[in-house]
Symmetry: C2
Subunit: 131 residues, 2 copies
DNA sequence: TATACTGTGCATATAGATATATACAGTATA
DNA sequence: TATACTGTATATATCTATATGCACAGTATA
């Protein structure tokens, strides 16, 4: 299991929140099939150099939101969620953040045309060797 | 002076931060010309129902960043910043948030084409009666 | 059964945002 | 000059989010 979970300890966003969001994206995005075991809280904690409690909090949040399920003594696994739900999570997450970005641009007095132009530039940059 | 400063006390974003960002957008976006007086810290505090210290902190941050200047006893005013600087603030702020949104979409396994389609939908919605 | 894994619960530490009180100092103006 | 505005400084209190350490409990398996 070589999960691409990366956290920033300097970010304003809480660590447990970063973990939750990244797993949500991996699960809703289809990179983690149902039943797949997640790293144990101790393993992930050691890997990310954070406390067990922080990892646990992230896993608890994910469980409450229905993305994973934990079995004491056995481990933590990707929950059995429907494709519809995954799709809905994808759509709303991405829609919200994009809409928020547009709102911010408008608050800076950009016109819709300008926002579109900037956005298309960003996409073009991504199409080339950005990553 | 009827400033459109709105804060959310429930937001994860600190109140002073919300105030800073909104004034930045108003100033960089050209809605507040240089020399325009801002509300006094006491007036804004009362208006937003927050403490004077919180307002003061926001104003101090804005001053450090060069957007306003305060004169003891006189008040607080929009600073004399160049159009170039305003433009740079606009560009970087909006570019960053849009880029971040795209990154998030990619993390959810959307393709660039899909992101573009969703984005264009949002723009179209805005063009109609969204506000 | 021993042991080495899993997750769990509780009590606490730390940092940051915010609120409050108090006193001070500069400015405008009737 | 009186007063009613401005901003300033400082010290403290409170609340909350976040992170943590430690002891406990369930499970798998050699």
């Amino acid at each position: 299991m070589d999960l691409p979970i990366k956290i920033s300890k300097d970010s304003r966003e809480p660590i447990y929140h970063q973990i939750v969001n990244q797993f949500k994206a991996l699960i809703a995005g289809g990179h983690l099939a149902r039943g797949t075991p997640l790293p144990s809280i101790r393993a992930l904690s050691k890997d990310l150099e954070i406390s067990i409690i922080t990892t646990r909090r992230a896993y608890q949040d994910l469980e409450v939101q229905g993305f994973i399920k934990t079995l004491q003594g056995k481990g933590t696994f990707v929950a059995d969620i429907s494709e519809d739900l995954k799709e809905e999570v994808k759509v709303t997450s991405v829609h919200n953040i994009l809409e928020n970005a547009v709102e911010t641009a408008l608050s800076y007095d950009y016109t819709l045309e300008q926002v579109k132009a900037i956005f298309l530039e960003i996409l073009q940059a991504k199409e080339k060797g950005d990553s």
